[in-house]
C-alpha cells in the first residue's frame, strides 16, 4: 500500500458487520444467517454462539445457500447470507436472479472480502465483477459501505427494507471517511468535499483515496468535489447530474471491473442527461499475483492514480 494510506488510522468493517448483525438479531427474532462453511471467514463465531438455531450453515454449496435463504424469507424470516463475495455472486448467480430478485424476496446478500482483497489468492477469489452482475438484476439494491459507520447503517437499513439487497463487506481495514454529522442515506451520494472544478465519484475502498487525491489537487489549485457513492443501485442520478452540470468533469474510482460497475452507471446517467468528459478507474483485466495493496497500486487505484486522471481531465477542454 502507498505510504499515505498506511499512515491513517484504519478500521475493520467486518467487526462492524458482526457487531451490528448481532445487535439486529437481538432486536428481531426473524433475522437468521445463512452461510457456506464461512462461519470463521465471515466472523460469525459470536453469532453462532449466541444464536445457534438461527445460523444455517449449508456447507460449501452456494446454489443451495441462496435458494435456502429465499425459502427462509418465504417462511417469514429475514435471511442475511454471508459468504465470500466471488462465490456468493458467481456461483449462485441464477439463484440470486430467479429466487431472490425475480421472486422479489427480502434476502440480504453480504459479499465478504470483495474486490481484490484476497489479493495473492488470485482472480478466482477476486470479486471485481459483482457490481456489474448485480446491476444487471431488476429489484436489487447494491450497497458498498466505505467504512464501519456506513457498514452499520447499511445493515440496519437492509434489515428494515422488504426487498433484495446485495452489499459488500470490506476485508482489509479502511480509514473512517464518514464525518460525524453525516448519515448514510441509502440511495443518496454522500458529498464529502465541496468543489467546482471536477468531481471524483468513488465507492468503498477507493473513497479514502479520493479524499487524499482531492487534498493533493487542492494544492495544485484544483478544487475537486468528492462523492462517496455507497449505493450503486438505485444510483443517485441527481447527484451525478449536479456533478456534471456544476463541475463539468467526472472521475470515477472503484475496486471492480471497468465495464458495468460504478463508472458505467455514472456514465449512463451522464450521456443521457449532461455529457461531460469522464475518466473511469477500475480493474481492466484479471489481476496478476500480489497482495491487495500491491494490486490497487498496480492498477492505479490509489490517490496518485486519481490525481493523474483528474489532472488529465482538468487539462482537457470540456
Amino acid at each position: 500500500m502507498s505510504e499515505t494510506r498506511t499512515m491513517q488510522e484504519t478500521f475493520d468493517c467486518r467487526v462492524a458487520f458482526v457487531e451490528q448483525l448481532l445487535e439486529l438479531a437481538r432486536q428481531d427474532r426473524r433475522i437468521v444467517v445463512v452461510c457456506n462453511d464461512s462461519v470463521g471467514s465471515s466472523n460469525l463465531v459470536a453469532f453462532a454462539k449466541e444464536f445457534p438455531d438461527r445460523l444455517v450453515n449449508v456447507g460449501i454449496a452456494e446454489q443451495d445457500m441462496v435458494g435456502v435463504a429465499a425459502g427462509l424469507a418465504n417462511g417469514g424470516f429475514i435471511p442475511f447470507v454471508s459468504a465470500a463475495a466471488p462465490f456468493l455472486t458467481g456461483r449462485a448467480m441464477e439463484q440470486i436472479k430467479a429466487d431472490v430478485a425475480y421472486s422479489n424476496y427480502h434476502v440480504v446478500l453480504c459479499g465478504q472480502s470483495p474486490g481484490m482483497s484476497y489479493g495473492e489468492l488470485g482472480p478466482t477469489h477476486h470479486s471485481i465483477e459483482d457490481f456489474a452482475w448485480m446491476r444487471a438484476l431488476d429489484n436489487m439494491t447494491i450497497l458498498a459501505p466505505a467504512d464501519p459507520v456506513q457498514t452499520r447503517a447499511a445493515l440496519r437499513w437492509a434489515a428494515g427494507t422488504d426487498r433484495p439487497v446485495y452489499m459488500r463487506i470490506g476485508r482489509y481495514k479502511v480509514p473512517a471517511v464518514t464525518p460525524a454529522d453525516h448519515d448514510f442515506v441509502v440511495g443518496e451520494a454522500d458529498e464529502l468535499r465541496v468543489g467546482r472544478d471536477l468531481t471524483i465519484i468513488a465507492v468503498g475502498t477507493l473513497v479514502a483515496a479520493a479524499l487524499q487525491a482531492a487534498e493533493t489537487l487542492a494544492g495544485q489549485g484544483v478544487q475537486a468535489r468528492v462523492l462517496n457513492m455507497a449505493t450503486i443501485a438505485p444510483l443517485d442520478e441527481a447527484a451525478v447530474i449536479r456533478a456534471a452540470t456544476e463541475t463539468g468533469r467526472i472521475v470515477t474510482a472503484e475496486e471492480g471491473v471497468l465495464h458495468g460497475g460504478l463508472g458505467s452507471a455514472v456514465a449512463e446517467v451522464v450521456v443521457r442527461h449532461r455529457p461531460v468528459p469522464m475518466r473511469m478507474l477500475g480493474v481492466p483485466h484479471f489481476a496478476p499475483t500480489g497482495k491487495a495493496g500491491f494490486l490497487l497500486d498496480y492498477f492505479g487505484l490509489n490517490a496518485e492514480g486519481i490525481v493523474k486522471a483528474a489532472v488529465e481531465l482538468a487539462n482537457q477542454s470540456p
Partner: protein
C-alpha cells in the same frame, strides 16, 4: 391429512377428506381428469406449453392440492399454510388449472395463459399468481428453496409442511443434490420431494442422456426415506403423501407416463412441448373422458 378446521376448505376438498378409500381415489381421479382437459384446452388455445410433463404430473398435483395440502384460497399468504413448490415450473398450466379450480385465481384467466401481459406466464410468477411460492422455471431451484421453507418451519417451531415437485430430468442439475444433502444432514422430516419419474426429458430418455438410476439409492444415500408409487394411482399417492413422518425427509419417486391419458402422446418424447391440433384436442378429450 385435512383434519385442520382453521382454514377455509371448499366442499370438494371436504368431501375428499371424509371419503372412504375407494371413494377418495375416484374423486381425485375425476378431479385430475378435469385438470387434464382444462390443461389441454389452455395449451391448445395458447399455442404453447409442455403438455407431456403437465399430464405426467396432473395426478400428483390433484392429489396434493385436493387431498393433502393445508392451503387456503381465501388467504394465499396465510403464514401457517403448507408450502407447495413446482420445481418443474414449465408445467405451470396444471398448477394454474388447480389454482383456478380451488379459487386462488379466476378460471377466466386461463384462456389468457402466455398471452400479452397475462398474469399467467409460461412459468409461474408468485407476484402475479396467488398460491405460487417461488418463481420457478429455471430447473433445479425448487428443492433448495423448499429446504429453506422446511428450515424456516423448524426454527419457528411451526407444523406446516413443504412439498416440492421436481421433474426427473431436472435431477441432472447439481443444485438438487446440494439441497438433498443439506435436507438429509438436517433430517428435515417436514419436507417431501415428489419426483415425477416419467423417464423422458426434452430431448430423449433420461437414461440415454445422463443416467439417473439407481435413483432411489441416490436419495437414500443422501439421508432420505424413499417411497416409490404409481404416479397415476391417486389412492396410493394419497397414502404415501400422508403417511406419518419419520425422522428423515421424504422422497416419493412417482412412476409416471409423460402425456398420460392420451394414446398418441403417451411416452412420446416429441410431446414434451408439442401443441395439439384442434382434431387432436377433440380426440384427447374423448380419450380422457373415457378413462
Amino acid at each position: 391429512m385435512l383434519l385442520q378446521t382453521e382454514f377455509n376448505m371448499d366442499s370438494l376438498r371436504a368431501q375428499v377428506a371424509s371419503a372412504s378409500v375407494a371413494e377418495r381415489g375416484r374423486l381425485l381421479k375425476d378431479i385430475a381428469t378435469e385438470i387434464r382437459i382444462s390443461v389441454l384446452k389452455t395449451i391448445s388455445h395458447a399455442g404453447i406449453g409442455h403438455i407431456g410433463g403437465e399430464f405426467s404430473a396432473a395426478d400428483i398435483l390433484a392429489t396434493l392440492f385436493f387431498g393433502v395440502l393445508r392451503v387456503d384460497p381465501q388467504r394465499p399468504a396465510w403464514e401457517q399454510r403448507d408450502r407447495f413448490i413446482l420445481s418443474k415450473g414449465h408445467c405451470a398450466v396444471s398448477l394454474y388449472c388447480v389454482l383456478a379450480k380451488l379459487g386462488f385465481i379466476d378460471s377466466a384467466l386461463l384462456p389468457t395463459f402466455a398471452g400479452p401481459l397475462s398474469r399467467l406466464n409460461g412459468h409461474p410468477n408468485r407476484r402475479k399468481v396467488p398460491g405460487v411460492e417461488s418463481n420457478t422455471g429455471a430447473l433445479g431451484h425448487g428443492l433448495p428453496f423448499g429446504v429453506g421453507c422446511a428450515v424456516a418451519a423448524r426454527i419457528a417451531g411451526a407444523d406446516w409442511r413443504t412439498y416440492v415437485v421436481t421433474g426427473d430430468g431436472e435431477l441432472q442439475e447439481g443444485s438438487n443434490w446440494e439441497a438433498a444433502m443439506c435436507a438429509g444432514d438436517r433430517a428435515l422430516a417436514n419436507l417431501t420431494v415428489v419426483v415425477d419419474r416419467n423417464l423422458l426429458q426434452q430431448g430423449a430418455r433420461t437414461e440415454d442422456t445422463n443416467r439417473l438410476e439407481p435413483l432411489a439409492d441416490k436419495w437414500r444415500a443422501f439421508g432420505w426415506d424413499v417411497f416409490e408409487a404409481d404416479g397415476h394411482d391417486h389412492g396410493l399417492l394419497f397414502d404415501t403423501f400422508t403417511a406419518p413422518p419419520s425422522s428423515k425427509p421424504r422422497c416419493v419417486i412417482t412412476h409416471t407416463t409423460k402425456g398420460k391419458g392420451v394414446s398418441f402422446m403417451q411416452d412420446r418424447v416429441e410431446w414434451h412441448h408439442k401443441v395439439p391440433s384442434p382434431e387432436q384436442v377433440k380426440q384427447a378429450v374423448t380419450e380422457l373422458e373415457a378413462e
